[in-house]
């Protein structure tokens, strides 16, 4: 109560003696700030120019090269292309997005936790360019060397990628015969191949509870 009366009196009473910090009596104080400081405050002094020199230019070139190089490495994870609402015929002939579950480089799985291992479910190979025998690969390559049509080239590359992923997976699975888990998976996949259904649509409930329910990207009709 006693303090209330004294609050308004006298311009700008402070809790400490303002003379000690140098504000003399009757000096004009700067006006109070009623808004946050501006986003781009005006610069009082221009910054000094950047130093030049061979060393710094070399490092600049290195930096830009590094940036460009990293974009092309397999470590640069590109998000899958967004699924269009209607499946179009031309989708088959376009360079499709990198298969989400494929990994372009092979890390040393011994050094990583087991849960990070990516198992690729086989996508049904596209119609005319059917299957999978690894023996076909060298022939495909030769054909390609001669044939320069872009569409076929892209389709081949796409298929090769699938092949590579699945053949890699198969080799890995064959290596680890001791693990029952792997064997079971392998058998399942063999059985799965005999049906006409695209297996990625089918959720066999194996991962129920363990994984989150991620949105199945393909619409189930």
């Amino acid at each position: 109560m006693a303090g209330r009366g004294g609050r308004g009196r006298g311009r700008g009473q402070m809790t400490f003696n303002v003379e000690a910090v140098g504000i003399a009596k009757g000096d004009a104080l700067p006006p109070p700030t009623l808004q946050p400081s501006p986003l781009f405050p005006p610069l009082e002094s221009r910054p000094a120019p950047l130093p030049g020199g061979e060393e710094l230019e070399y490092m600049l070139a290195l930096k830009q090269e590094l940036r460009g190089a990293m974009k092309n490495l397999p470590y640069f994870v590109k998000p899958g292309a967004p699924r269009r609402d209607i499946e179009r015929y031309s989708d088959k002939y376009q360079v499709s997005s990198p298969i989400d579950s494929a990994i372009d480089w092979s890390p040393d799985w011994r050094r990583l936790p087991r849960e990070l291992r990516i198992r690729v479910r086989r996508l049904r190979p596209g119609p005319p360019h059917a299957p999978p025998a690894a023996a076909l690969l060298p022939k495909c390559k030769q054909r390609l060397a001669l044939d320069k049509e872009e569409a076929i080239k892209k389709l081949e590359s796409l298929e090769k990628k699938e092949e590579e992923v699945t053949s890699e997976e198969e080799e890995k699975e064959e290596e680890e015969e001791g693990k029952e888990e792997e064997e079971e998976e392998y058998d399942e996949e063999e059985h799965e191949e005999e049906t006409d259904y695209i297996m990625s649509y089918f959720d066999n409930g194996e991962d129920f509870g363990a994984d989150s329910d991620d949105n199945m990207d393909e619409a189930v009709y």
Binding site: F16, V77, P79, S101, L112, K141, K148, D211, S212
Partner: protein, 534 residues
Amino acid sequence: MTQAEIKLCSLLLQEHFGEIVEKIGTYLIRTGTQPLRMIVNDTGLSLDQVKKALCVLIQHNLVTYQLQKRGFVEYEAQCKRVLRILRYPRYIYTAKTLYNDTGELIVEELLLNGKMTMSAVVRKVADRLTETMEDGKTMDYADVSSTFVRLADTHFVQRCPLVPEAAETPEVPPPPAPTLVINEKDMYAVPKLNLVGKGKRRRSCDEDENHEHKAKKHKKDGEDAEPPPDDGIYWQVNIDRFHQHFRDQGIVSAVANRMDQTSSEIVRTMLRMSEVTTSSSAPYTQPLSSNEIFRSLPAGYNIVKQVLDQYLTLLADDPLEFVGKSGDSGGGMYTVNLHKALASLATATLESIVEERFGSRCARIFRLLLRKKHLEQKQVEDFAMIPAKEAKDMLYKMLSENFVSLQEIPKTPDHAPSRTFYLYTVNILSSARMLLHRCYKSVANLIERRQYETKENKRLLEKSQRVEAILASMQATGAEDVQLQEIEEMITAPERQQLENLKRNVNKIDASENQVDETIFVLESFIESTLKKP
């Protein structure tokens, strides 16, 4: 982690690894240690994408994992390590100055791939070097190997922790995650490899077409062949050693600026002798006798022992105290005061920042406060010889920006304002922290601006890339000059101007990022040296 650091980390991850990795990395930095399921739930990405991103991050030493007692694995991001991505060009350039192109490429490959086996590195680097050599010449694996061994001997590359040799007990299932161990002694031990071969030159046909075939063929070859003899032994770049090198460089150049070339050479010799005996966080090097220093001076320097002694005395008496005398045996025992040197470097950086930002008179007041530690308002005006009004103004400006702080000293127990001293002071550590935070913000702003500039001109950039591709293919098939001219004219003059501007701006911004990173290094080293290690 401060907001500024998190923002900068996320920008760096996005630029170098893509958005998916960025999302997961940022999530881990922000929320700390998490198991896989939580990451998938909270980020909303698919399980496979999360797995892929984690593999990439672990490969590059940006995320570590740990097996918890209850049997699940938790992942933790290393924020500081992510910030080092900014410094990669500096590491590569340093390797180039020390070990020539071979060393440069070795370090570059290791940085780009995170971890690699020695055989893989040697092969890749030999191939890359062969590409740049003249036709018919190839790079021998032995040269690359020897450079690699030298890098390992000087501790610039080190071994990654190894998977422990598991006993083959089929009943016990293998743990969900390996616990990696590394023995101190083995960290720099190079495996005995018999790498024989030469670099292969890639055939210069249509790269796009055959590249995939080649990659596939090589991979098939790699799979068919036996695992390399050093399978499982991975190498990574030893960032701390590079930092030690930068610190030494900074100290030597500071001495050279302050005194002369010879004294800087003496300090360089002392630091070189202490490289292996002193740990990187020690406050000062091991004492070195003047005789030892005399023997280890580089061959070109023929100064007499007396002159060396005089130089050492001068260095020890210098108020900056880079070098200290710790005894008299052996002609005088001298050490380099590392922590003091780092503090001096940080202080010099602070002073220079104040000078550039506020003007030389403010800098004078700042240096005065550094020297006298605590001063009253009146004393500042007197010592700095600056009129009262201006001195007041400058002090408040610096106070509002937190370069300077107020210290209250009460005369009476009731802290009455009229009976209290108010002293201005500079706290170097807190100013350094504040500036470091500002540096992180600056780099984040620079990166954002660069991305904005590139995005604004995306259409133009794509057009110019297409034109260049057309030009290149036409030149390869031998087109006439007239046709080439026509293609070049597809880009109009104002567009060319715009491209020039864009290039200049992007270069400027990149160079600024490198510059700010140098300041970040100095400030970080100083702050780290003040932290008490357990």
